[in-house]
């Protein structure tokens, strides 16, 4: 993922989950912090789709259980490395 796209990803997570950019680490996972609950997950999906101009399949929405997993999925959708 390019540095620019990595920054966009961090920003998208920080915005959707309403957390500091520094809290967005590879290990950050769904439901491990109060801010990343199901409601925030929906906001996060909308944010990622908007920022990267993609439409995620439900299987990928379900699979997006961590920041690391989000990167993997975005690459699958052609977001540049």
């Amino acid at each position: 993922m390019t540095k620019e796209n990595q920054d966009k990803l961090i920003e998208a997570f920080a915005t959707a989950l309403n957390i500091d950019n520094s809290a967005v680490t590879e290990q950050l996972a769904y439901n491990t912090i109060p801010e990343w609950d199901s409601t925030a997950h929906m906001v996060l999906i909308a944010e990622l789709e908007d920022v990267f101009d993609i439409m995620l399949d439900t299987d990928d929405i379900i699979d997006m259980s961590s920041v690391a997993k989000a990167k993997e999925i975005l690459i699958k959708y052609g977001v540049e490395m």
Binding site: Y30, N31, S38, D59, I61, I62
Partner: protein
């Protein structure tokens, strides 16, 4: 009987599922949040199945995702003689597979059950009783529109159709693509 939607399938519990479900139910990670903490023997499981299998007040399901069993769900009548005539139904479920326990997918079987209760069985309300320390279940149900009607060591929560439809819309959109 089978319900399908939101990427999951609910298949009515069969005799051959009994041992798998018994082991799930006896696992401390599931058992700790059950109202009864006792270990269930194969004989008890068998006797329970014989009792509820043709009881119109109960429906028991195994939850499947991508053809793999991931948990169990059930519906039961709060009062009355059959699910078809019930005004208030108590749904219950647990996800056994760790991969999907803290995952958006955990909402899918509930959406399916709730749609069935409100749209097919024409229930007026859904009700559940949750242990006070089961914070995950309380939060989960709150996200689906349930409201607390009685607080205590056991928390009683209720959901009506209007609230369910309003609150579940964004979740349904994500899980219906």
């Amino acid at each position: 009987m089978e319900l399908q939607g939101y990427h999951v399938k609910l298949m009515q519990l069969r005799r051959e599922d009994l041992e798998m479900v018994r082991q799930w139910r006896n696992d401390p990670k599931i058992q700790q949040f059950m109202l009864s903490q006792s270990q269930i023997t194969p004989e008890q499981q068998q006797a329970w199945f014989e009792k509820i299998n043709n009881d119109p007040r109960h429906l028991q399901f195994v939850i499947y995702y991508k053809d793999a069993p991931i948990g169990a769900a059930n519906l039961k009548v709060i009062s009355g003689d059959a699910l078809q005539n019930a005004q208030v139904i108590e749904p219950g479920l647990y996800i056994y597979d760790d991969k999907y326990r803290a995952n958006l997918l955990a909402f899918a079987p509930t959406l399916l059950l709730n749609d069935y209760c409100f749209d097919t069985l024409m229930a007026q309300k859904l009700r559940a009783v949750v242990k006070k320390d089961n914070i995950a279940a309380l939060n989960y149900n709150q996200k689906l529109g349930y409201q607390v009607i009685k607080d205590g060591d056991l928390v009683e929560i209720e959901l009506d159709k209007l609230n369910y439809e309003k609150v579940s819309k964004p979740l349904k959109r994500l899980l219906s693509r």
